[in-house]
Subunit: 231 residues, 2 copies
């Protein structure tokens, strides 16, 4: 099988554990709040917020600012009234401090020896760079919705990766833990690899990680994907 040249990675849930990282920080900062529920609600606000941008209701907005919009609503909803503005800014940046899944750094280091590895996330460039520096994610290049001025699943993002590297869509493979992201990439002609992340939403609610035969690869971790690709 012909291998792609470029591996583009979804980030939240695929490479880093947003649920565990956010829940832990919220719990530590706000002991009276259910960190697990707060993390889920914050993430659940993300798609509707992006839809407000896509529909034109909001102008182009960085994910940092969408996260803050959602956070302000959640603080009210969870009855938190005693955070200073500086504390809110710091809490909002928890999305820059997400921990990698245990296999991510080792898997990426192996994949990087044979492929160009880049992010393809709706997260903004600054967020993705700060996250990578803290967690040791060895990207060759940070690509983001911010570069393409469009969020996934807009075809401009998937096709944008091929354009940046001047290759055909089939030379790019999206690596993600979400079947809808992979399906949208496939519709643009990209190869796809599904990564099982059963604990993405926390241990109490394991995610369905059944294989979809439409994907080019299916792996339990980034190290297993490296194995499959001969790295």
């Amino acid at each position: 099988m012909k291998q792609p040249q470029i591996l583009a990675f979804d980030i939240f849930g695929t490479v880093v554990d947003w649920h565990g990282s956010v829940a832990r920080e919220v719990q530590a900062l706000l002991p009276g709040v259910d960190g697990d529920a707060f993390a889920l609600a914050w993430r659940a606000g993300y798609q509707p917020a992006m839809r407000r941008v896509m529909s034109g209701e909001l102008g182009w907005t960085l994910i940092d600012d969408l996260h803050r919009l959602i956070l302000d609503g959640l603080l009210t909803q969870f009855g938190v009234t005693d955070l200073s503005e500086a504390q809110k800014i710091e809490l909002n940046r928890v999305w820059h401090r997400l921990d990698a899944w245990p296999d991510s750094v080792a898997g990426l280091q192996r994949l990087k020896t044979r492929f160009t590895i880049c992010t393809l996330s709706n997260g903004n460039i600054g967020l993705l760079t700060n996250m990578a520096k803290r967690a040791g994610l060895p990207w060759d290049c940070i690509l983001s919705a911010e570069v393409f001025r469009a969020y996934k699943p807009d075809p401009a993002t998937y096709l944008g990766v091929a354009k940046v590297f001047d290759v055909s869509p089939a030379d790019v493979m999206l690596v993600a833990a979400h079947q809808d992201d992979l399906a949208a990439a496939r519709a643009c002609g990209l190869a796809t690899a599904y990564i099982e992340r059963p604990l993405e939403f926390g241990a109490p609610r394991p995610k369905d990680v059944s294989p979809d035969p439409a994907n080019t690869w299916h792996a339990t971790s980034l190290t297993q994907l490296a194995e499959q690709l001969g790295c």
Copy 2:
């Protein structure tokens, strides 16, 4: 002195040796052509080509495509008529294969321990990523005219770095071997570091590398800059 958080690097001439790299490849591919003169002429075509974009005569154009425009003219000018299309494409990509100056990798590795280090080049993202991967340049993030849809010295590029990282312009320092680039960055409020690259245009024509006291730092190499910044 308060130190910046982000170091943004000019690339061509500052981090990599475009003249020597291009001259060597041209000489090897086209033994009848003066590689030194060809490299100088190719680079000399760069500013006028960017001006055609800035003036609106050309639409937004990646540097890869500007390089090719200039190359086609040069091949005629130097009497080269026997290259295939595939050979021209390959030759044009010499700009992805530029060698780093001897101190660059070690200097960047040291600077990366304390600062976020990114490119800020008129080169396109694919070019800069391929170059970094080949030469081992350990960027935290690849920023480029392509991200900002403007070439240096447009203020949108210098201020764009501060915006990406959500910091003030004074928290960003441009590192470059060109006083005009640094002056434009300073006018936007950035700190500046000049790097001496006397051989940028080849050994027969050493460049004036006199200090300008307006710069925050002046160093003979990226390793010396690391030394000065306490890395």
